[in-house]
Point group: C2
Chain length 243, copies 2
């Protein structure tokens, strides 16, 4: 009668916490988006596995709930952290009429953190995390958040910066930020974090919206007014004296 | 000639990634704030150890740099993620004239993620992370960020919400947010995340600023306009249809 919603980190086993591994090891049943379940194949041998395609999030939660109600221990896996645009929330909503099913969230390294490490240290000071996907959120709300985050001088980390259907969203967001920050503001992006083909690139606020290789598997970082480049790394100072 | 700046997560070994353990294992020298170095004693046997007290951040970086310049591999450890209010940035700034010293950031689970998991799923949608400490940041800038984050309807995660000298900062911040959100907005806090005595409490925006046990070792979560309580957990919906 237990569901672990497990963040497995960006992908490679190197980034997965012992707590996440233990949750998967203790489970009878594994549920997840097929790409992520496949990443775990060494850990899931002999377990019952339910994989679903993308965008079937509610379906996936219902499967996890049904299995748990049968008395099984379920590991419901997602990439990154289960609590950052992850499945932890929707799982709890789907199971709201079943308080007898215990739901435990096991956190993982989210792309804001793993991506920041690749670029240097962009998130050292206050930051905002915004998804540019308007599949579930009206674009007007995203626009308001981007503008106010820019005005507040937050470092900004964008998840889902672009897709084929939303090819110009990052560029639109950058134009809003340019009302508050210099075109030379250091920015960066990381593709395939913690996976084969990982690639981190430093750019500027003026340029980054135009870069075509940025896609759904990319995380984008926009510096604040003090972010700088130090030996090729993106660094946001915190204000220590004597540096 | 290498410095790993390693985020060890909230504390217990259960939360530390294999990547972080490997970096510590590969090091000749361990540098860090004494409390965190002591947490690692099983991993650091036989290594040269430099511990410093709190607030000696620049000093700690200089020690790490001196050791690396001698040709040693250094693991510079910090709690949570090294890149979120961590030592990764200041280490790069201190080493700016020594590009020959490679600095690699190894990310860990930051308190926003580990704390969110204890409370439920508060960070499922766009969020802002703000430190309420004005030791290094003018209060006017903090105030501006809190107000704009409230207006933008971000879920807000506060680090360093209070100390003895800053006993009323969280209450002041909550009063600013109350201009934009209902007094009944679900909020929560987690003390001693991932350590002995871990404690997560759900509260409201009206109440949380007055809670005396919230201190420097506490992380605070303020819900957005849609955050709700589901079976005693704090859940921010993302907008999936069919829940």
């Amino acid at each position: 009668m237990k569901i672990y919603v497990v963040g497995i980190g960006p992908g490679k086993a190197d980034y997965m916490t012992p707590q996440a591994k233990q949750a998967i090891a203790s489970a009878d049943v594994i549920v997840g988006y097929d790409f992520y379940v496949d990443l775990l194949k060494d850990l899931t041998l002999g377990k019952e596995i339910f994989k679903t395609a993308m965008k079937q999030e509610v379906e996936r939660c219902k499967i996890a709930l049904e299995q748990a109600k049968k008395g099984k221990t379920v590991a419901f896996v997602c990439s990154g952290d289960a609590g950052v645009y992850g499945m932890a929330g929707i799982m709890m909503e789907v199971a709201k009429d079943h308080p007898e099913v215990a739901i435990e969230v096991v956190s993982g390294i989210t792309a804001a953190c793993s991506g920041a490490a690749v670029l240097g240290a962009p998130l050292i000071h206050d930051f905002a995390v915004i998804s540019l996907s308007d599949l579930l959120t009206p674009w007007s709300r995203i626009e308001k958040r981007v503008t106010l985050a820019a005005e507040a001088d937050f470092v900004i980390c964008f998840y889902n910066p672009k897709s084929k259907k939303r090819a110009d969203y990052l560029e639109k967001a950058c134009r809003m930020i340019l009302q508050y920050r210099s075109p030379n503001t250091p920015c960066g992006y990381v593709k395939n974090i913690g996976r084969d083909g990982e690639k981190g690139i430093i750019s500027t606020l003026e340029q980054i919206g135009k870069i075509s290789e940025i896609d759904m598997f990319t995380t984008v970082f926009i510096g604040n007014s003090e972010t700088k480049i130090v030996n090729g790394k993106m660094v946001t100072p915190r204000g220590y004296i004597g540096v």
